[in-house]
């Protein structure tokens, strides 16, 4: 990215001043290496976000950002409903509430090594993953409504997990004010056999070793210890969320002119929060969030069943569950005044710091766990939210490594078998129904997650707690 017109604020922040049509400035969180490698389209897209009505403060770009549709992936922006602010389906994305759930096992990693192949095979058999896979659960219309209203709470009420799981999930496992009536019949149909499925692409279930501690005290609060085993589940709202995104993106794009919105890019399709369309989307999106929370809860249940076969006395406890494709109404302090804002985080996680009421009591002294997924051959990281992030980024941080090359380029460069063999040499077992899918998701197709995480820490968005190294990866 050409930075010649940017103001460099410090080693990890770049400001794009507002031009005539921008209502706000944009801030890019990146060190020199990351910003040099960032696509020029990221600048173009975040500048377009700055043109949307009712934007409050700066539009933000996280260190893992890359070219998306409408908002860049890694884009964050807040809007005030009472100042003409908008809600954007393109600012949330198709995979509503895609996120990561982290489970702790309490098992030393050596215990996994002893059963690694059998455990990988069993997980691959039990976790529905990839194109064409289906879950075992079929919901009636009323059950679907219950799921869309209740999310993780609904799943627990159906026997998929425990009440204490909910204490360690954003929104306590249930997004309030969801509106199932705003979810179309086609979206429901698309979800009919997808409850408890992982999906494909960059979604995964990984068994990981806590390989390095950076902050032992905070890790202890999170329930994490060096050389113990954890499980990360990365997936979202499946077909239901995809269809909600599809339908509202179209309706918002077509209706924008009638709603008095001059869209700089059709993909920034949006509607005033105070409009019928805006309210319908918000209700449907919240139902999508609940679908994702229920889905990850069911996958947690399936994972527990597999682990109980290998380790009968081991309880898998939820560490935390964080979504990174959402828009949430949150109170934020703007120039000393508390305002309720609609914060879009597209490919960005919340990162609330110590003392925030958004953080579960158990973590409130140290800040929320910020879960950052890596590629299947490298590392993932657990960070903790900071107080500074509230003023820097509406308490937001990066969500992953971010892609460094397209799927097409990756496919030209690697074969799935080659990647599988290379990773097996590093004692990382990959299970996937598609070798082509493995090639497209090759570790080398992603940015260096450590560089991204270091930048997030140096910028003050979150602070490192521990590093996770993959041992088993189930890919879709």
């Amino acid at each position: 990215m050409d930075t010649s017109s940017f103001d460099q604020l410090d080693a990890n922040r770049w400001r794009i001043p507002p031009n005539g049509v921008m209502r706000a400035a944009a801030i890019i969180f990146a060190d020199r290496n990351l910003i040099q490698d960032m696509d020029e389209k990221v600048r173009e897209q975040i500048c377009n976000v700055c043109r949307l009505p009712g934007i409050v403060g700066d539009a933000l770009v996280m260190p893992d950002a890359h070219w998306g549709y409408g908002f860049p992936i890694g884009g964050v922006a807040a809007f005030d409903a009472d100042a003409g602010g908008v809600i954007s389906a393109g600012g949330v994305g198709f995979d509503i509430s895609c996120g990561i759930r982290l489970l702790r096992t309490g098992l030393p990693y050596q215990s996994i090594e002893q059963v690694q192949k059998a455990l990988a095979d069993s997980l691959a058999r039990s976790i529905p993953a990839g194109v064409g896979s289906t879950g075992a659960i079929r919901l009636s219309e009323s059950e679907m409504d219950g799921m869309l209203l209740g999310g993780g709470r609904w799943a627990v009420s159906q026997g998929y997990g425990y009440a204490q799981d909910l204490e360690r999930i954003e929104e306590q496992g249930c997004q309030a004010h969801a509106d199932p009536t705003a979810v179309s019949a086609r979206a429901r149909r698309r979800q009919q056999d997808e409850m408890g499925t992982l999906g494909s692409g960059n979604h995964y279930l990984e068994v990981q070793r806590v390989s390095e501690l950076f902050d032992e005290a905070t890790a202890k609060v999170f329930g994490l210890a060096e050389d113990e085993t954890v499980i990360s589940i990365h997936c979202g709202s499946r077909g239901l969320g995809h269809q909600i995104g599809t339908e509202f993106l179209r309706e918002m794009a077509i209706s924008a002119a009638d709603l008095g919105i001059d869209l700089p890019d059709r993909e920034l399709a949006c509607a005033p929060i105070h409009s019928d369309l805006g309210q319908r989307y918000i209700g449907a999106m919240r139902a999508g969030i609940n679908c994702a929370l229920a889905n990850r809860q069911i996958l947690t249940h399936l994972t527990r069943q597999v682990f109980s076969d290998f380790f009968p006395n081991t309880a898998l406890e939820v560490v935390y569950d964080v979504s990174h494709n959402t828009c949430r109404e949150e109170p934020h302090s703007i120039n000393g005044e508390t305002r309720n804002l609609y914060v879009h985080r597209k490919g960005a996680t919340s990162a609330f710091g110590p003392g925030s009421t958004n953080v579960p009591l158990v973590f409130r002294k140290v800040g929320q766990p910020v879960i950052i997924g890596g590629s299947m051959g490298t590392s993932s990281y657990i960070l903790a939210g900071t107080e500074q992030a509230e003023t820097l980024s509406y308490s937001s941080a990066c969500h992953g490594a971010g892609r460094a090359m397209s799927r097409h380029q990756a496919l030209k460069k690697w074969s799935g078998r080659q990647i599988q063999d290379e990773l097996a040499g590093k004692h990382i077992m990959i299970r996937s129904p598609s070798t082509r899918g493995i090639a497209e998701e090759a570790p080398g197709a992603y940015k260096d997650v450590t560089g991204v995480v270091d930048c997030a820490e140096h910028a003050g968005l979150a602070r490192k707690v521990c590093r996770l190294r993959p041992m088993i990866c189930i890919k879709g």
Binding site: W67, Y69, S200, R250, S434, G437
Partner: protein, 136 residues
């Protein structure tokens, strides 16, 4: 008549070309299937009908791809043959394919939806070119 993919960071750009607009829409549908699997591995065993209407050619292209994505998702099918008729903002098509066979098709990604990014319906001197980025 040809289809191809173009680069987009995390997602996939689809392109279809044809002597007629309908042919270009058929070709981009093939590019959609190719984003998931090797199209030569998909057999034309079952046909279904799809119908879309839209206020513009570009929105119709998004609707067409989203209709295919929807049918792929709910029927667990992949499609390899497309017979498109366009008339005054309406698209009617017969699409033919088969159920997903994970061993044979090795499906790489699930397509979530068609976006309005890099959306293009263009008539050059001798052909139609249609382009769209899909989220995967």
């Amino acid at each position: 008549m040809t289809w191809s993919h173009f680069t987009h960071d995390a997602d996939i750009g689809l392109r279809g070309k044809g002597r007629t607009k309908a042919q270009a829409y058929e070709e981009i549908a093939m590019a959609l299937t190719a984003a998931v699997t090797d199209v030569s591995q998909v057999r034309p065993r079952k046909g279904i009908r799809v119908h879309c209407t839209a206020p513009s050619d570009e929105v119709l292209l998004v609707d067409w791809l989203n209709a295919l994505i929807y049918e792929m998702a709910v029927r667990k099918m992949l499609f390899c043959d497309f017979d498109v008729t366009l008339h005054d903002g309406e698209l009617s098509a017969k699409i033919t394919g088969e159920g997903v066979n994970r061993d044979r098709h090795q499906p790489a990604v699930e397509v979530k939806g068609a976006t309005f990014t890099a959306l293009n319906v263009q008539h050059t001197t001798d052909e139609w070119v249609v382009e769209c980025v899909v989220d995967v």
